[in-house]
Amino acid sequence: MKGADILVESLLKEGVETIFGHPGGAILPINDALYSGKIRHILTRHEQGAVHMAEGFARATGRPGVVLVTSGPGGTNVVTGLTNALMDSTPIVVITGQVPTAVIGNDAFQEADIVGITRSCTKHNYLVRDVKDLARTIKEAFYIASTGRPGPVLVDIPKDVSTASYEFAYPESVNLRGYKPTIAGHAGQIRRAAEMIAAAQRPVLYAGGGVIHSGAAAELRQLGELTATPVTNTLMGLGGFPGVHELWLGMLGMHGTVAANTAMDAADLVIAIGARFDDRVTGNLEEFCVGAKFIHIDIDPSSIGKNVRVDLPIVGDVKHCLRRLLEELRAMDKDWQGEHQAWLAQVEEWKTKYPLQYTQEPDGELLPQFVCTQIYEATHGNAIITTEVGQHQMWAAQFYHCTQPRQFVTSGGLGTMGFGFPAAIGAQVALPDAVVIDIAGDGSFQMTLQELATAVQYDLPVIVAILNNHSLGMVRQWQQFFYDGRYADTSLEVSPDYVKLAEAYGAVGLRATRAHEVRPVLEEAIRVRRPVVIDFVVKMMENVFPMIPSGGSIKDMLLA
């Protein structure tokens, strides 16, 4: 069997049904092997689109997304997506073509040292120099991408390896002596965690993306409800706890709710679960949760103790650890509700006193927050929401109350503008019947809008809701607050007509400029089941609040 066919058969063994990719010279034998149609290949318009689609697919399903691109620029164009997937722990497998082994190192046409370039932005990567190693490498790539802390794996396949012949035998198992993720948390540590939780007066559960990756939303909810402990989510953790639950504090961090940040500040115990104390969460570490002890549950030992001194570390899979922890806590027979009554009342007061709010005047400029609320209501809270990066992302996080894990797909760690639209396409490929909406900014959408052609070609009814403020809004907000209103390089005064743009691509273009137009436009977009771009022309100078300036603490929080 040819190497290209070995690859296809290996992917089938891994249960791959869809690949996102873009062809080229060095990868052609593999595209040719896919011509039989055994695996669906979604032809993207740019390799960055392909890799974000794979991320969207993976985030919406938990299964690895697969990318197939050529050598040289094909490889370098996936670097942003790989970095994004590494930061946000997203399982993807990226296969790149490479020039033939005989010319590697000779500056051949479309040659790039992609294994060297991507070493620091992949969980692991491979150059397959012998067709004999191909099947085993693919097996390992999927195993590494999807186990432990998930992440991106790149496999570089020279053209002569794709065309060489070898017998196909897919390994049953992998044996990597250097890679043995810890799944079960230390029993003694879990018992001590239960004791610390039982002794706490003002505990907070601080839950991140790890809850979603490990499928532990049910366990997190049980933990919150059993121990009557308020829960806050990171941006990556949204949907890991119901965003409408009475114990929910909202998102924490730079643009988190007053209740979430105040509760963290006042807490005597913070239980970090699959979260990594990112600087957008902690702000100034010296002033972060000064009165709290920390329990930190994470599958990645290097995340523990990296930013914050942890009193009780537990290395392990979140779901596994929470199950054991729940057993310990259930055996305690405690009146949690009674003991936490004062704390819960205090938290409730903060929530009531400082809600997220805005005032939409019926005839005034359209407010982006209002649009997000309308999207939430029009979809009954059941859509898959992807976002780009910037103000719209924060408003989407604040006003679309996700109740399900894998419902909110955003670029957290890397902050990649242009992520949301291709991610929405990938999610739609995975879940054809879902309503998938990319809440976008006009700046971000322009970075990857060429994938409109992909959405139209494959009949993927994604909705792009552009909160169009004709500027790079988040940067402009920083300029307003911290650079004396010197709006350097943030005005998008020349922009396409997004309605015509959509129509030019064969998609549906809609526009709303006033409050009363928002709902009908959204309902039309959901009804047509075609790719739709909605141009919501919103107030340019609207800002995201609350805001804790970068490097600040809760005492620096701006409310308006």
């Binding site: 070493r119 620091s120 990597l176 250097g178 890679y179 030992p301 290097s302 570390p313």
Partner: protein, 169 residues
């Protein structure tokens, strides 16, 4: 409970890795990406040809050293990381020093070589090459003594280290 100490210390790590191309690049890339220092590094195959052993000397406070340890462990091609500074170990370095030898200094160089149990491995009318093996203190001492006599060139292997007693990595 972890306790952090802000004092900067120098630690020696023994790192067993897969003997594959590119692995050293992953290690050095990790150090530069995370802003860790490499004071010295030496690498070669072990008794098992599929495994290479790296001895790596790095410097940092307790938090940095903990991250060095964890981040090394995170690499798929890293089989085992041991912080040898946490236990009793033997470390050695080999240095080759090319020294000026004028008529009046020749005897002195020979005396120093003798004191440090070094060997003269190459002789010309104007130079000696001196080979010395030892721990960091000894190597530094011999360099300090030879410097006034005129060191023309010097090369060090970097430290290698092994745990004392029956313990094996």
């Amino acid at each position: 409970m972890l306790s952090y100490n802000d004092a900067v210390r120098r630690h020696t790590f023994a790192v067993l890795v897969e003997n594959k191309f590119g692995v050293l690049g992953r290690i050095t890339g990790l150090f530069s990406a995370r802003g860790f220092n490499i004071e010295s590094l030496s690498v070669a195959e072990t008794e098992d040809p599929t495994v290479s052993r790296i001895t790596l000397v790095t410097e940092g406070d307790a938090k940095v050293l903990e991250q060095v340890h964890k981040q090394l462990n995170k690499l798929i091609d890293v089989i085992k990381v041991t912080d040898l500074s946490e236990e009793s170990h033997v470390d050695r370095e080999l240095v080759l020093i090319k020294v000026n030898t004028e008529a009046e200094t020749r005897a002195e160089v020979l005396r120093i070589a003798d004191i440090f149990r070094g060997k003269i491995v190459d002789v010309t009318p104007k130079t000696y090459i001196l080979e010395v093996t030892g721990d960091e203190g000894k190597i530094q001492a011999v360099i300090d003594l030879l410097k006034p006599l005129g060191i023309k060139e010097l090369v060090r292997t970097g430290k290698i280290a092994i745990a004392r007693g029956q313990r094996m990595l």
